[in-house]
Symmetry: D4
Subunit: 147 residues, 8 copies
């Protein structure tokens, strides 16, 4: 079984397209909490309010790290998607974290980000543009069949 | 001796301010190649031209990775600076890479980036706004003196 | 599944409150032997009496270490509870051991211990006061739902 | 050369007695910042004031962790001293951290703490009561001579 | 259960002979994609054509590395077969990779390759000539019975 | 579940006494091949005769190492029994190997071997004389009950 | 300082060209014994003759492994050269060994070997054809200057 | 520079013969305390008398472990000598410890011990009978010259 962690962009349906496309394959997917509001506020919701936004964010980011670290450390493959919006530094951070652990990295992004992501892409075993390509990679890695 | 790697932004003088401010301290600094043009073109300059920009970038990013990895792996402390311009995904990638190796991370950025960098900051042992604060940290870590 | 080790205080019902509150969640809990007398005397009960109290304690502490080490090494998350009584150095030792292994740490203690536990808290991904908050964290990490 | 980290109690002269007694031996000592006030306030002094005491402490504890981690990770031997006062959970945390990294541990404490420290002592290669015994251990380990 | 990765030559039936011979043993086998054409072209088939043969090969080799690395890292035993044809540098690369990870290596080759493979054989726990000997080794390792 | 590897002496029934005594406990036992003749001759029986006794032994010892290494690496606890006969250097080698991997060691031997085994015992978490004590340890570690 | 291990082909002057070209750079080079006869016969010359060529080779290959392993493990960068002659499986083995340890790999070979070396090249951070390119890489990595 | 740890027998002059023979080579030797009485009594001499011989030995063995572990962990090569007398289980323990850490092992013993040491020899990169052969190995590893 392949354990795959899906990191990065949370505002499009790329995860669903990969998960749906992989039906029938021996793959277990994991991902961060993708509910933006919950992800931002989890820290203060559980551990108490913070007047300072920095610590508000800090508490939440650390709770999310419990899930993210386990997801990456348990994974065989880490897929990191960079979308068109936002800074997405957490996605690049996850990619670096996964690379240092020796995970197989697949980076997913549009052509316009090629230059800005060159260091991230250079650490990857595959750079794809569409979620369906990731599905094809998973199928090939599992049973050797090509599209 | 403290070995410190200075990752991230290459368009302001933050490295110089840290290195100059640390005169007399037992610190050895390392950093990526900060000549933007050399860093972009090193791959093709040494290993041969590529008509496709993706592979042009790819060859260069891999050569730079030889230096970056050694710099991070040898370091006790990795300082990562996020500036006001560009995507800076390589900086976040370095931070993730360093975090996974258990390095002590110091993140340096302006207040406006606090929310976008919350996951990176959450992995750090210090979050500073000015290079002089990094100097003060290095001095305190080495000899216990405060500003 | 999350594997969670519950270290520390053995004289209140905090473990039961976490385990009971986590019913229905995909969590496997582990903990030290919490029978104080058995924990103190296991070494000599099995391996033979010692006239010197130091070696009496030593034999027992080493048997308990077989269980503790496995519990911590197998865990994704290590929760360490500091109560109001006793030195509880073994709890702090477990926290340090878990931190060095890169485990996600949750520290549980009352407000009065904040200053004395600052180094331990600084290594944690969450600091909570009530066992129910730990349950909420586990639920959030598993399925993203907030209280 | 032996690299020795001296962790724990900061209110008596045990470190000086070890360092002075080791004159002429091939040992390099390291230790945390032992100026109590500086150690407590370093975070806010460098990185900015915090109205909440928890975050005041948190910022300081993390700066101190930069020094502590390096000291422990670089060491061959970690000596941890437990005195008669305070909770000293940071000392026990350091001991656990060092144990998990496979460092040779020497624990230094009076007889009255034997039972409370049994788990910590069980992870050690030596348990001593006086700093002079630590000096004798270092001398024996280096050149085989006994007192 | 023994997890066994079968690396190397893809043009004879040695894998089938080992897998068939091991029927009834508690062994799980894994191997690279052995369809030569698929293995060569997988990169461009999924990720897009490359005019330069070097990058054509490069993309494919990296996709295959996702499977190979997982296969070797998950294995208890790595069997590497060297046949009579081709350079087979990937087989020797896999052997080196497995050796550095501390895997138990079994090398399978004819007598004529003995001198050329001496460094690879020197890292192995067994050097065999016939696939049936590998089956006998697996049976002996599992239940102690000899042929 | 506890995974326990039983290393050492093969001429008495100590393994049976531990395995039988542990009926009902959640323990999985593993051990080397204990058929002395098979263990000595496995190498040449499978891989071909050797005129030189050194290489005869060498081939066998390496095949046995495939099983031994996996047994020790997979184990939570390694029990090493030293009997009254033979050099038993392989038992001491296994103990050292297990110690370096951080396994919990239980050493089992009669009083007469105490001085000769002091370095091995010093690396152990328990030193027992009778197999039944090992059973009691396993029971205590699993469910906290004492004899 | 960069530590560079030069593995592979021993029949051309590529090592000299790299070492000579790197005069003045802060690089320490290491390499295997490149005297072919000594390398083949070292085992029996020191440890005694073997009538069987396999064990003759085996003893030598293991002595050479003492040097090779240290060379690779100490290195920051491992350069592996594939020439036009011989099987060179030891070169590919070294490349795999270095890759698994996370070393920065530079592969050096002529165009004709591109397809056969695609898996090895895919693990490298640079693929060069001429020793002078390796010198240029070392210079760039050290001081950022391009040819 | 090669760092070499000389473990095992302390009653003959084999260490002197290796050290003397290696004059002029770039080797740093380390070894356990070879004063038998000091080694046996160091624990109680420094840390206080024990009426029970087991704990007398235990305290000493642990102090010696501080030196032994550092010696082995720092070494590139571990030479283990088995003499004609005593059980020498500590020597075999050191060999196992060094093997698990991936150190290059050289085993030194007379022909009569070949069968009893077959598992230890099987983990070694060289098996020699005379100290002078070890010197020849060190010289060959360092400069490629043969006797």
């Amino acid at each position: 079984m392949l354990k795959v962690y899906l990191s990065g962009e949370i505002h499009t349906d790329w995860r669903e397209r990969i998960v749906d496309g992989s039906k029938g394959l021996d793959v277990a997917f994991n991902s961060p909490v993708t509910d933006h509001a919950a992800s931002d506020d989890c820290g203060v919701a559980i551990l108490g309010a913070e007047p300072d936004k920095f610590w508000h964010d800090h508490k939440g980011a650390k709770l999310n790290a419990i899930r993210t670290r386990k997801g990456i450390e348990d994974a065989d493959i880490v897929v990191v998607r960079f979308g068109d919006q936002y800074k997405q530094w957490n996605a690049a951070f996850d990619a670096g974290y996964a690379a240092a652990l020796g995970k197989s990295l697949i980076i997913l992004h549009g052509k316009s980000h090629q230059h800005a992501l060159k260091e991230v892409d250079a650490a990857a075993l595959a750079v794809a543009e569409e979620p369906e390509q990731v599905v094809q990679i998973l199928r090939y890695v599992l049973d050797g069949s090509l599209p």
